[in-house]
Structures are given as C-alpha cells and as structure tokens.
Symmetry: C2
Subunit: 358 residues, 2 copies
C-alpha cells in the first residue's frame, strides 16, 4: 500500500494534528540502475525517477506539504511563479483541497504539457510577457500584501517536503550514494536534498553524506558566473532561471559536501536526454538530463572516480515537453500509405533483419 509522503515521513515533517490529510501518492518514486550508462562511464549509476510523481515532477513532494499547511493556516488561495512544474503541482493539490490557485508563468517559455496541466486542474493561469525571475519578484510582493499564500520554494514547507527524496535514495540504496547529481534552476531542490541527507544521517538512518554536484544550464548559469543572468536562455525551460532564489543554500550544499556547481550546454543536455530514452527507456524532460550531462562532463574532466556510486536526479517527465522531443529527435516518424508493402519497404531497408522469411 502506498502512503504519500505526509504519512510516510510524518516524523520528519512539521505535521500537526490539524494538518489536513492530503496526498495524490507523491514520492516512492523508482530508483533505476542505469546499466548501459554505468558501463559507459565506469561508474555505478542510478536514476532517481521523479517524473513518476503525480503531476510528473519532484515538485509534488514539497507542494503537498505547502498546500496542506496553507489550508491548515486558514488560507483559501495560493499563488506561485513558475516555469511550469511548480504551477502544475500547485494547481493539482489546490484542486484536491478545493482551494483557488493563481499561477504566473513566462509567456511562450513554458512547455506545452505543463500549461495543459495547470489549466486542466482549474488554476487561473497568467502568462506574463516577462521571465520567471520577474514573475517571482511580483508574486512575492503580491502575496506579501494580500491574503494569498505563496507556494514557491521560498515557502519553507516546500524544501521540507522535497527533502524526503534524499531519504528515499538512502533507503533504496541502503546508504547515501557517493555523489548526488542534480539539475539547478531556482536551486531549491539541491538545497532540499542536502538538508535531507544531513537530517537522515543525524537521526542515525544513514552513515555518510554524498558529494552534491549541481548543474545549471550554461545560458542560465548565474551561480557558476557569480552574478544573475538577466536574459536566461536554454532549451531546458524548467531551469531557465537567471536569479535563483535558493542561491546561498545551493552554494552551501556544494561547499559543505565537497561537491561542485557547474554548468552544461544545451548540446550536452540534449545528448544526455536522448541517451536516457534510447539506452535506459527513461523519457525525462530536457532540464532533468542536466544531471546526467553533468556527470558525463565530470567524467571527461577526470573528476569521476572509477566505480563511484552516483545518483542522478531526473526531475520531470518528458511528456511535459513533447515538442522538445519532436524537435530534437534524430529519426522522425515516416508518413506512408496504408499499405503492407509500404511498411515492408521500410523494414527491409533496416539492415540485416528481414532478409529471410520465417
């Protein structure tokens, strides 16, 4: 029986008797061994598949707690800025508790699937002619002045909920990994994982801490550059953020863990994105592949020890961004007549398969 994270990790979370029971069965996501990539990299590589969450991203872990606490505190409406995943998650949990949800997203820079989620769950979607950082600044001001709860990751319950993914990684492996590789956008998730690993160890459930490797997209790599990026650009829309809200805690996670924050190019991201689907059968969104792209880069730089146990966080489901897939895939679908011979012609062109009948 699945439980949802509020029940499963109650002891680790700020739950009270007044907190409403809420779950869409987030968490308990698979940890898959990446057999072919492990071999290719000479490492022991695992994929934490957060795309299996109810709205298809890791955001559900923090959102279930943020929305439950908002309800507990008497709020009737929630609000967030989003590149798409946060808004989908906020809209779903708000719907489940019958709360109003306002989401502010950058016009034309939110993946199609994410937009479809927010509107279907009944959120009021405001598509601004600006970017995520501008949206976040505005919703912070508005929620400061009006009785609407902010559910971006500056809401501390978000990070609390998200840290449960680190617990699961430890439980699934039997111990913390050597390295935790993760995409960095607004930098809340790397902060949450680090908090989770530290707490789990402090409470005696694990005995070591991983090195935290965070990877920004090169066109939005504020932390790597050391200054905000005013016009962030990357194919990985989920991390198209130029002024990360959790900048300090992300840097702290990297420093305290003897880890690193680095960047990967769109080309590296797309190569990893394709590899994950074609070799491991996992279709993540482009931003998610930044973790794997980063590990591949670290290997090339000589920074990956042979046999190291690495967990790459895959933050969201590829179905959220079907257009990215169709734009970047190598072999396009072929339109052919409704005719058996037309099908056979394609098959026979594929080398060495069907020369002989059965």
């Amino acid at each position: 029986m699945r439980q949802g994270i509020l029940e499963k990790y109650r002891y680790f979370l700020p739950i009270t008797d007044q907190t409403p029971s809420l779950t869409l069965y987030e968490g308990e996501t698979p940890l898959l061994r990446a057999e072919k990539l492990s071999e290719e990299l000479g490492a022991d590589l695992y994929l934490k598949w957060e795309g299996a969450n109810p709205t298809g991203s890791f955001k559900d872990r923090g959102m279930v707690l943020a929305i439950a606490k908002a309800k507990e505190d008497g709020s009737e409406a929630v609000m967030c800025a989003s590149t798409g995943n946060t808004s989908a998650s906020a809209a779903a949990y708000a719907a489940k508790l019958g709360m109003k949800c306002y989401v502010v997203v950058p016009h034309q820079h939110i993946a199609l699937g994410k937009m479809s989620q927010a509107v279907m769950y009944g959120a009021e979607v405001l598509s601004i002619q600006g970017n995520f950082d501008q949206a976040l600044a505005m919703v912070r001001e508005i929620t400061d002045q009006y009785p609407i709860t902010l559910v971006n990751s500056v809401n501390p319950y978000r990070i609390e909920g998200q840290k449960t993914a680190a617990f699961e990684v430890c439980q699934q492996l039997g111990e913390a990994p050597d390295i935790l590789a993760i995409p960095v956008g607004n930098a809340g998730n790397i902060s949450a994982y680090w908090k989770g690993f530290v707490e789990f160890k402090e409470k005696g459930h694990s005995h070591k801490l991983p090195r935290m490797w965070g990877f920004e997209a090169e066109g939005a790599a504020a932390i790597v550059r050391g200054e905000p990026v005013l016009q962030p650009e990357t194919v990985a829309t989920a991390i198209r953020i130029g002024n990360p809200a959790s900048w300090k805690t992300a840097v702290q996670a990297a420093e305290e863990s003897n880890g690193a924050i680095d960047s990967v190019t769109d080309e590296e991201i797309l190569a990893a994105y394709s590899k994950l689907a074609r070799l491991e059968g996992i279709f993540c969104e482009p931003a998610s592949a930044a973790s794997v792209a980063g590990v591949i880069k670290m290997r090339a730089l000589g920074n990956l020890d042979k046999g190291a146990r690495v967990v790459c966080v895959l933050t969201g489901n590829g179905l959220k961004d079907p257009n990215a897939a169709l734009a970047h895939v190598e072999v396009k679908p072929k339109v052919i007549p409704c005719d058996k011979q037309a099908i056979l012609d394609v098959i026979k062109r594929e080398e060495g398969l069907c020369h002989a009948g059965k």
Copy 2:
C-alpha cells in the same frame, strides 16, 4: 522498495529461469479514493491511476512481459499497431533490452505526447494514412511472415501482464470491488482484468468477483452496436478502434460477471475528464475518463446501487494529449503584460477574495 510486476507477481506469470529480468518499475500504481465524486454519486468511488506507470499508461504491465518473453525466445525485433500508448510502451521496453521496435500508427490520430515517446525511445515510427484497425491487420500479416514478434494484445503475454492490475486492486481494497468500470477500445484490458479477478479468487487471495462495466466511445462502439465500425471517430483517440481484437473475451467478461458493455458520448467523456482534474487532482487522458463517464451515466439510469464500491480504471496520463486539454478547457490562460498591477487586476476580478489587504 518497488519491484516491478515480473518479480512481484512471478508466481502468477509464465516466467522461467531464462526470462530476462526487466522492469521500468511498472505497476504498484495508486488507488485513490475520489472523495468529491463519491459524494456526488452516492457511491464509494476509487480511481486506479494507471497513468502513473513508467510510460504513462496501463500498457506497461503487459508490455514488460511481452518484451521479456520475446527476448527469451530469441527475437531481435518487435512490432505493433497502436493508437499511441502501446507504441510508447513497446518502444521503451525494447530500448531497455536493446531490441529494435517498429510501430505503425494512424497518421494525425495519435496524441502528440505518445508520438514524442515512441520517437524518443528510438522506435521506427510508421505513420499510415489509415486507421488503427487497418494497421493491426497489416502488422498481424507481417509478423506472421517475418521474424519480428507481434506485441499487440493478441500476443497472450500482454493480457497475462495486464491482469496484475486486478490483483493490485484487490490488495489495495482488501477485497475485489462491487464494480470495475473500464474504458473499452481494443478490449484487451477488460479481458485482462476479468482474468485477473477470476485467478486471484481461484487462488484464494480474494473472495468475490466484481461486475465488469466496460465503456466504449459512442463513435467507435462496435461491441454495443454489434458490428465493426468502419470509420471510428472520437475525441478519445486511445479507444478510437472500430473492430476490437478482444471482442469475444470482453463480452464474456461482461456476461460472466453480470456486468455490461455500454457507450458514452464525447461530451460525457470530456465532462468526466474535466471533473477528474478539477475535483480530484487527477489529469488523465480523454479515453481514461470513459470509465467515470460511464459510471455517471449508469447512476443517471438508476443502475448504480447506493454505497456501491466502484473502481474506475484511469488508463493513461493526460500529459500524453496536451492539445486535448487546451482545446477543451473552459478557462484559457490569459496573456498579460509583465506588470504587478496587471496581475492584481485579474485577482481582484475574482469574487470576494482580495477586497481587504492583510
């Protein structure tokens, strides 16, 4: 720790020592109580959320077994006709085992997300100028003549794997429900669930059998009409099938269980699709909502007993068909300037919320 269905239900499946170990962590999907819909219908309604499977549909349960057995039997390539979900699943599992995958889909009648999945997982996608039924007839002929394994649900391993969903429903509820409501397209899934319920009871793991209620889309309702539909049409592309391969076993399931096969209109499907997202926080694909639409119809016809325990199978994830969501949603996203006042104007128009500042 999650297991995947080949390991978890090994005792119920035709697994041998030679069957390759294969999983993307299909199965163990949530069963959610639909609180608001239960109240509305005066029933005890649950949603079996198969959109949580690795490729976002129930097909993964049967495909993991079909692909593993194809590999065990020495096959190097698999093939299927598909309205989209079967091809996504076949492509993913074939990729994981390094096998070639050919999929034949109806041109312009496959949801965008499903197409993006098949190409990303590296399948050869042949988009025919015809419908699903024509595609299935051709791939049956081709796989009969060439050394390529057919992985449509006429492959008996598919039904064997899919029956595990019935086991899970019994385990999650502690017993079989009174009624199992399910969309009917090619009719393999209703046949598989019935087989699962019967076997689980025979082996002493449950003590009763549910009534099976299957629902076709009105524009593709071959079984209800009693004859194949040559030009099937429905917004629910996943069940846009006019000549179901498992027709006989579906009718048998309905008859043996004292159930029914009925149809629902596109309007009823879309209404249920919207309700599931807005009330329960579950975004399924249109075809999935046929199960809930059917139960709503049965209630209106006086066929639903008060308090009956009903499980509605939601077969696939709404992210597979983002365009359906955006086309049919009532409240569209609003494009506004990047300006705090523009956001406030929208919020203030929402009644009664923000009249007073904090």
